[in-house]
């Protein structure tokens, strides 16, 4: 009986689709050679949004940790970049180091925040972000409440600067996507979802809860830190109130829920949709924002599982081999 069945992780279609996605990701590196700078710049913006969405999804969608405070890492990553460049680190190296530093910040905050649950966690993370913003604003060297510009990129020719920033952003995005994929593909993937569904039951099956949550939390800190540092590299000016602003969390929430929470592909779709909405309609000022709000409400009401559910329910196979299925052997 038992040898009639086997566990499969990927079918042929899944393999083809994942290879295609990897190829596409790598092909994106060539964009600056073939397209105008505005495309490069926009893709950079899109990638930073995408990183944020993917990271928020890792936390909330897979880990059940609904954070309203990921802007803490975005801001920290950006300010760490400023701090490092002020200490004569080259800007792009500073971006990488700042992302790592954000990961370290997450390590430091984890003991406090990971003990909280549900609403407490959400508000707790938010307050941490606000407190960080206030602390940064107290530091005159970092520009205080005034904000500060990233100097040091101006020496590079504008087109090349954009290309470098783009490559770095794309590199980080692919890295994060790969990390999340590995996390889901390896046994931790199932365990993470188990924890989200029922922590105590997961523990009773031998799953170590804390290390896994810790891993998610640190990964998300690292990813958001990178997104923040790259946002700075892309926009060159930051100010504590906005880079630590809660609107980032709102945007992440929007992208993830509209795309499809708890799925690998959903946040990517959500980020693209958000980016396009912004790109096409933002010039309409208040009307654009009203429209954005209406889109959010419409999704909540009519497509609560997000955009990806439309595709997911229709596709006969998975795009990515992260699940397990029982199939007849042979």
């Amino acid at each position: 009986m038992t040898d009639q069945w086997t566990v499969r992780r990927s079918g042929r279609a899944t393999k083809i689709s994942s290879v295609a996605m990897v190829a596409f990701g790598i092909a994106l590196f060539a964009v600056p050679f073939g397209f105008r700078t505005d495309v490069v710049q926009q893709l950079t913006t899109l990638c930073t949004l995408l990183m944020m969405a993917v990271m928020w999804n890792v936390l909330a969608g897979y880990g059940g940790l609904v954070s309203v405070g990921q802007q803490a890492y975005i801001g920290f990553g950006a300010y760490a970049t400023i701090f490092l460049t002020q200490h004569d680190v080259t800007a792009y190296l500073a971006v990488v180091l700042a992302a790592l530093a954000s990961g370290v910040l997450a390590v430091a905050l984890a003991p406090l925040l990971l003990r909280l649950r549900g609403g407490q966690f959400a508000v707790g993370t938010w307050v941490v972000a606000e407190a960080l913003a206030l602390l940064v604003a107290l530091d005159e060297d970092l520009g205080g409440g005034t904000g500060v510009s990233l100097r040091g990129l101006n020496t590079i020719a504008p087109d090349w600067r954009r290309a470098y920033t783009y490559w770095l952003t794309l590199g980080f995005t692919l890295l994060l996507l790969a990390l999340v994929f590995l996390l889901l593909r390896r046994r931790s993937g199932a365990a993470i979802q188990a924890i989200r569904d029922d922590e105590e039951a997961a523990a009773s099956l031998g799953v170590r809860i804390m290390p896994l949550k810790f891993m998610l939390f640190v990964l998300a800190g690292f990813g958001c830190g990178a997104a923040g540092a790259l946002t700075l590299a892309n926009t060159l000016f930051i100010q504590p109130q906005s880079i630590f602003g809660v609107q980032w969390s709102a945007y992440m929430l929007f992208m993830v829920l509209v795309g499809g929470i708890g799925t690998y592909e959903g946040p990517i779709l959500g980020a693209i949709l958000f980016f396009l909405l912004q790109d096409w309609f933002a010039q309409y000022g208040a009307w654009y924002l009203i429209g954005l709000g209406a889109v959010a409400i419409a999704f909540a009401l009519f497509l609560p599982r997000g955009l990806w559910s439309l595709a997911d329910d229709r596709l006969p196979f998975r795009l990515l081999p992260v699940g397990y299925t029982l199939r007849p052997a042979g």
């Binding site: 909330a60 609904v66 406090l112 003990r115 909280l116 649950r117 549900g118 609403g119 407490q120 959400a122 508000v123 707790g124 938010w126 307050v127 941490v128 606000e130 407190a131 206030l134 602390l135 107290l138 105590e200 809660v246 709102a250 929430l253 929007f254 829920l257 509209v258 929470i261 208040a286 009307w287 924002l289 009203i290 954005l292 709000g293 209406a294 889109v295 959010a296 409400i297 419409a298 999704f299 909540a300 009401l301 609560p304 599982r305």
Partner: protein, 295 residues
Amino acid sequence: MNWVNAVIQGVLLGGLYALFACGLSLMFGVMRIINLAHGDIAVLGAFLVWSLTVHTGIGPFWALVPALPIMLILGYVLHRTVLARSLRGGPLTPLLTTFGLAIVIQNALLQAYNPDVRSLGGAAGDIATGSWRITGQISLSYLGVLILATAVLVLGGLQLMLRRTAFGREMRATAQDADTATLVGVPASSVYARATAIAVATATLAGVFLGVRSIFDASSGPTQLIFAFEAVVIGGLGSLWGTLWGGMVLGVAQTIGATIDPQYSILAGHLVFLIVLASPHGRSLLGYRREGRPA
């Protein structure tokens, strides 16, 4: 003397936070909806009252008499049309709905009222600027006392309603398990809708006091939101009395922080919040009722 004054002003400020947090506490603590639109609803209420005062010439507190029922109905309808449906989508869907609602309200107000700042303080007359002078250094403002008293009344009343009345029990039952509530005869969606109506009405109250105390424009909604959330969490989810205390703890922390150095005011509030969360005692004291799943 400064310290005494700081504490007194902090308590009064806490009243405002508590009042602001009241509707949030009801929805967040009891119904488990994180309402990101709370601040904007408050501002919407303030605009409504402002319009009434301008067009009829009555004071803002009198304008509440027609405004509160309007907002109650609005809350009821809001739930029936939007929130009820999004509650079915899972725990996070209401978050998306209220986020959408927040920016819709904020920008619709911007379109309707343009970006000018408004205030209800002028129309409120003496209440906005008068005070009892206790000593040269200490004074109790009419407004602060009025806000605090309202907060105590509203939060206390709602707390009693929740804990002591059958409707309150139904509300808590619905919050725990809406499907099962209907199976024991509780009209869950209308219970929710009424709770939302109350939350929206208290938000209006808070918005009006905010408008009397300072000024507001379409974008003022979110600024006080975090303090309200902090008050709810410090006080323990699900307890409205707790929210009142939470508001005061926050208010006093801020004024004492400001007395040490003005730049520590808000920071001090945040730190006290984090300390309360971090201390094992604080967490178990305040959070166990709702969040801990008994083994």
